[in-house]
């Protein structure tokens, strides 16, 4: 009997139309849990660095986290993995919603797609019955539109459907995979799906998901619900309203957007608009939200309401949105909220990432203004910015004219355009557009997170440690009084002593050593979530979440039957984290790629920054090029990676410290963190 997981993957060869149900090795579960962890392992085993993003040999994996489908609140994430057309690295993008629970109830932990269908198809999975069905009649339809058609033709109104729109079909490098209220948006995995000519996957299941220790598991689930209720009544004081509660930033609920509109930058991640949030704007945007938002929405088995149904026409729900996509189009176009909510409906149907797409369009308009692109590149484009965004979106998703260039994202478009266009693709890390945020003074923790994060968004590495100090030490002490989440008491001291100004403020404080531990801890929490399928919104992302390093080992153990404690969970997580790093190292990622956008901070400290990277690499057990050392790989049970690196000349046999055992012990201790 397998607990929490189903013990089977579905292997689909789209070229040949072959479908197999394959039993998985329980050993891999104990090494990597599931979700991202086992996805990464499959990529290591089966997709060598010679395979590129649009090769049929590239895999596209829809992986459910280990705890998905159990009664664990928030355990609903699908981890989609492939080689990204944008970063050219191992890309993974997560979505909540309803897909992964349905997939597991149909009997599969993962759907592994390879090859390329000769003509557009969609996959229909109904328990043991699986069909590759013709999708020529759906090709060209929107994401939600095609999902609806599929449900109707299958006569299965409750099937979960993940689909691509025009953007994915036309291999736009920032195409998303949409699934009702959720989407796997980052790093262009929708383009890989389109390249495989897979329009959609529809799934419906009716099987049981078992947990190993039911009474214990349900107690933990009930405790988390009680805690969520408690946190709802007791928001965190001293932080911006969207961060005071649990879940992802509560953009659909909270109307106060002063923080985003005045601290984030508008246009092509350029202009900060202090004083923007006037009473007039507040009233008008509140009205917009209250008229257009028809219902708050949750993902499977989660009491949070991070999503919302939005009505832009006569329908009660035209599409669903969540989080910061509320503002990205508005701010890129210097427009208002109603414009943002309206164009997002079209963008969702076309299936594009709502971080990248608006920046790409603003980038195009900047290039026009700078004379790098000319009017001739935009034949027939209307004069006003709002209409221009609609015009550009349409060209991009169809890859028509200039849209074909822009569809590659700012980095690759700049490559094609030349003429200094790279100056304008200024907000990328690892070739991917980031949150539009430009700040003054460097912050060591954030420097490290931006540099070394491999998940294309700062929100997927930052988390439980406050982003800034509070105004007074008293407020900080009030915060730490009730903060059992930290791995060790010293994390509390670091926050208590942090100052807005003075000796203990950024860039000097928190110190490098403290920053290594804070960053490592926050990153590890995200990697745990990505393996279990627990939503970051109940665990790694918000302040004081219900799940943390001290109760997750018990939850995972009670659910899966594995016997994990904090040390072993951290060790296992480090294994997956370094395997992800290794996948990318094999694809050429090096220290030079570990860099934030040059203009992210006004005040930079080149020497300090290099020292920080050195120190953090040491802390991680990586060499000065950001490559896990042989000793580290050995300690993590990744000797097969080390051997491959030696064979490829990525690591040299002579560059290891002679006392490998000692180094290994050090690496293990770091991997295991500092559990109290």
């Amino acid at each position: 009997m397998r607990y929490a997981e189903t013990g089977y993957n579905l292997e689909v060869d789209l070229t040949r139309g072959n479908i197999e149900r394959v039993a998985t090795d329980p050993e891999l579960t104990s090494l990597h849990l599931g979700g991202l962890g086992t996805n990464a392992r499959l990529f290591w085993d089966r997709v060598p660095p010679e395979v590129s993003h649009f090769d049929p040999e590239n895999l596209l994996i829809f992986g459910a986290g280990l705890l998905v489908g159990t009664p664990g609140p928030g355990c609903n994430r699908t981890i989609v993995s492939s080689i990204s057309p944008q970063t050219r690295f191992f890309g993974f993008s997560m979505m909540g919603g309803f897909f992964a629970p349905e997939m597991k109830r149909a009997g599969y932990d993962k759907i592994i797609l390879r090859g390329r269908a000769p003509a557009p198809v969609y996959l229909w999975i109904h328990d043991d019955k699986i069909e590759i069905r013709d999708a020529t009649h759906l090709w060209g339809l929107g994401t939600l539109e095609s999902a609806e058609c599929i449900r109707q033709e299958l006569k299965q109104p409750h099937a979960a459907v993940a689909s691509i729109g025009l953007a994915g079909e036309n291999r736009v490098f920032f195409a998303s995979i949409e699934q009702g209220k959720s989407s796997a948006s980052r790093v262009g995995l929708g383009a890989v799906m389109g390249d495989k000519r897979l329009k959609a996957i529809a799934v419906l299941g009716s099987k049981d998901i078992h947990v190993a220790r039911p009474e214990e598991f349900i107690r933990l689930a009930n405790e988390s619900l009680a805690y969520i209720k408690h946190r709802e009544k007791n928001p965190i004081l001293g932080v911006m309203p969207i961060m005071a509660g649990l879940g992802s930033p509560q953009e659909m609920v909270v109307h106060d957007e002063e923080w985003h509109t005045e601290n984030f930058v508008w246009g092509n991640a350029r202009v900060r608009r202090k004083g923007f949030w006037t009473e007039e704007v507040r009233d008008s945007w509140t009205r917009t939200m209250e008229t257009m938002r028809t219902r708050l929405l949750s993902c499977y088995n989660c009491p949070m309401k991070c999503g919302a149904a939005i009505s832009v026409d006569t329908r009660a729900c035209s599409y669903m949105m969540k989080c910061f996509s509320k503002l990205t189009y508005t701010m890129a176009a210097f427009s208002d909220l109603e414009f943002g909510l309206r164009i997002a409906q079209l963008a969702t149907e076309h299936g594009v990432d709502s971080f990248s797409a608006p920046q790409v369009m603003a980038f195009a308009l900047e290039l026009l203004e700078a004379g790098i692109l000319t009017e001739a590149d935009f034949p027939g484009m209307p004069p006003d910015t709002n209409s221009r965004f609609y015009w550009l979106l349409d060209r991009i998703v169809r890859r028509e004219g200039i849209g074909d260039v822009l569809a590659d994202g700012t980095y690759w478009a700049a490559e094609r355009i030349g003429k200094g266009a790279h100056e304008y693709a200024h907000n990328c890390i690892k070739k991917t557009e980031q949150l539009p945020l430009k700040l003054g003074m460097l912050n060591q923790m954030y420097f490290l997170m931006y540099c070394t994060g491999e998940k294309a968004s700062i929100t997927q590495i930052e988390g439980n440690f406050p982003q800034t100090p509070f105004p007074t030490r008293e407020e900080q002490e009030a915060f730490t009084r009730d903060w059992p989440h930290v791995p060790d008491e010293r994390f509390k001291r670091w926050f208590e002593e942090w100052e807005l100004r003075g000796e203990k403020s950024i860039p000097n404080y928190p110190s490098a050593e403290a920053s290594y531990e804070i960053v490592n801890w926050q990153e590890a929490m995200h990697y745990i979530d990505d393996a279990t399928g627990m939503c970051a919104g109940l665990s790694s992302f918000p302040y004081k979440p219900p799940f943390h390093i001290h109760n997750l080992p018990e939850l995972i153990s009670a659910g899966s039957g594995l016997d994990l404690d904090e040390r072993s969970l951290m060790h296992l997580t480090k294994r997956t984290r370094d395997l992800v790093r290794s996948l990318n190292v094999a694809r050429g990622m090096r220290r030079v790629d570990d860099a934030p956008p040059a203009d992210h901070w006004k005040t930079r400290f080149p020497e300090l920054e290099q020292r920080l990277l050195d120190g953090y690499y040491d802390y991680k057990g990586w060499n000065r090029d950001g490559i896990p050392t042989r000793a580290t790989l050995h300690a993590l049970g990744l000797d097969y990676v080390a051997e491959d690196f030696l064979r490829r000349g990525i690591l040299r046999p002579d560059e290891e410290a002679p006392d490998a055992e000692e180094a290994a012990a050090g690496a293990t201790a770091r991997g295991e963190g500092h559990a109290s």
Partner: protein, 187 residues
């Protein structure tokens, strides 16, 4: 027997406007009815289902009611506030016309038991897990009456019924039948 007997009825109030569509009610219902308790989850076995159509903004939690051997002769389709609800959206029956409220492997009907258990729960589990308060629970006192539906029936209506029988079979046969059935305790 007095007509003023009271009884306590358990009631779950369903506010479809508050439902966020998370299906937590289905999860905990199926888990609590698993054997051993909480050992597995499967919304297909749940005795509550959220009938949902996200693009129509429809979310209707429905509890499993009585089994019916035959589907209805006709179907209802409601339009409320401009939203068109699918056929049978509000129906609680485990019925041949649809998949819900049947054990997926045996096809046996499922019915909500209001989480009757020993010790008694304060609230059914679906209500406890609905943090959105789309499901709320109350105990209400209602008139039990002397004989349920018959309690409010006027004597002359029964007279009319018996007269109709007498016309067909004759009084003596009707009296015999009443006497025989009373003797057998068939009341």
């Amino acid at each position: 027997m007095s007509d003023s007997t009271k009884k306590v009825v358990k009631r779950i109030r369903i506010n479809v406007d508050k439902c966020n569509g998370c299906r937590g009610c289905e999860v905990i219902c199926s888990a609590s009815h698993a054997t051993p308790r909480y050992s597995s989850v499967n919304p297909s076995r749940a005795r509550i289902r959220v009938i949902r159509d996200p693009l129509a903004d429809i979310y209707v939690p429905v509890f499993a009611g009585e089994y019916t051997a035959a589907e209805c002769a006709g179907r209802d389709q409601y339009t409320i506030d401009g939203k068109e609800y699918e056929e049978c959206a509000f129906c609680r029956a485990s019925c041949p016309s649809r998949d819900v409220f049947k054990e997926p492997d045996s096809g046996l009907p499922l019915k909500c038991d209001m989480c009757e258990s020993d010790p008694t729960l304060e609230e059914p589990l679906c209500v406890q897990w609905c943090l959105a308060d789309a499901l709320t629970f109350e105990r209400v006192e209602v008139d039990a009456g002397a004989g349920g539906a018959a309690a409010g029936v006027a004597p002359e209506e029964i007279d009319a019924g018996l007269e109709a029988l007498a016309k067909t079979y004759g009084w003596s046969k009707v009296i015999d039948a009443v006497a025989r059935m009373s003797r057998n305790g068939n009341r």
